[in-house]
Symmetry: C2
Subunit: 223 residues, 2 copies
């Protein structure tokens, strides 16, 4: 864990094994629109959440910088089972898309899937490992595989928020997209969890496509 | 309606009757913590949402600038019944607090309360009018009273989001506060509304206490 910091505008080079929850979210708190399926990983119309990611749609060099930095920092990825089903599916990751994309020689980081039971068949078998012992174990294994780089929890909503609310994340990066989706997959589980957790702004980068907000997750007495 | 604009970093002086939904919200989408009552208008622990508002807690001149600008722009206020119950209550607005505060000669703007039935007794009787004909009527009356300045929909969550989702707001200003509340009063009504609405960033000001995000609310074919 841990990352040193300079001032309140920048993030220094990675220390060891920082756990970052990093996810795109609508203004009303959804990480996917309604209608997610094997063809629509972000739901029907939810592609707007990743406009800042796609080169042909990006309107700002700042978006590109945020993306490149994230790719460079990432040593391992943690994701939930439903996100895996999409990214390993026929319309999911390949050499051009996702954390497997061939970006200037960057190697695809290993990915750890939180699941109750591993799937029988895996398309990108050399990329994915399956962890059935819960988020602590998934993060430990990811940290061990990350070679000192960041462990990025990329979603879905339930996986991201459970890691965050359990106090297992050092940082939260939200890419807040200027759209109201009105439904879909919420990032946070909704009223009733009553987990109070303060954050500290580390960086804020604004582009037309997203507010890229990085927060340090402050510890609570319960952690 | 309408406000002209210069570039994507600034807001020009008000035109006539721009309707602005302006509200502080936690990173997980709550405008109040759990436990709202006559003493805790923002819920128990929810005062963190207004740290950027209070002079003794403000850490940035930018917060002060945002607040002063909002006060100067505001010609009339629209609010919901439960928010009224608090601000007109014993721990609510006075000469030092709320839209009635005596800020450098600024007069308190008239406030229009959306309600099913007007209350029998009103403490600040010369400040509040009650509208039982729905949000269209409330906004019309507020616009007529605003003298060309902004009509600000200040909450609560249901009032703010209903105006926004009905396409009645020209702008949305969120003061996104770095805290996870885990429960309370949500700004948005939750999955199932399925109202898709794109926003356009107008301005983004980042301080340690809040991301002050102003969006233009783009029309949809249904408007």
């Amino acid at each position: 864990m841990g990352r040193s910091e300079q001032g309140d505008t920048g993030i220094t080079d990675a220390a060891t094994g920082t756990v970052v929850v990093d996810i795109s979210v609508s203004v009303d708190g959804y990480v996917a629109a309604p209608g997610t399926d094997a063809r629509h990983g972000l739901g029907v119309g939810g592609e707007v959440l990743h406009e800042w990611v796609w080169a042909e749609q990006r309107s700002s060099d700042a978006d590109t910088g945020i993306l490149d930095e994230a790719v460079t920092r990432t040593g391992a990825v943690v994701l939930g089972r439903r996100t895996f089903e999409f990214v390993d599916g026929p319309h999911g990751w390949n050499d051009d898309i996702g954390y497997g994309a061939d970006r200037q020689g960057t190697e695809a980081p290993p990915a750890f899937v939180l699941t109750g039971s591993p799937p029988e068949a895996v398309r990108l078998a050399d990329r994915f490992s399956f962890v059935t012992d819960g988020p602590h174990e998934a993060l430990e294994r990811a940290r061990a595989a990350a070679g000192g780089k960041d462990v990025v929890v990329m979603g879905g909503g339930r996986t991201a928020s459970s890691v965050l609310l359990a106090g297992l994340a050092d940082e939260l990066t939200l890419h807040l997209v200027p759209v109201v989706l009105g439904g879909g997959t919420p990032l946070f589980p909704g009223p009733g969890t009553t987990v109070f957790r303060r954050l500290e702004r580390v960086r804020s980068v604004s582009t037309p496509a997203a507010e890229h907000l990085t927060y340090r997750v402050l510890p609570t007495p319960a952690d």
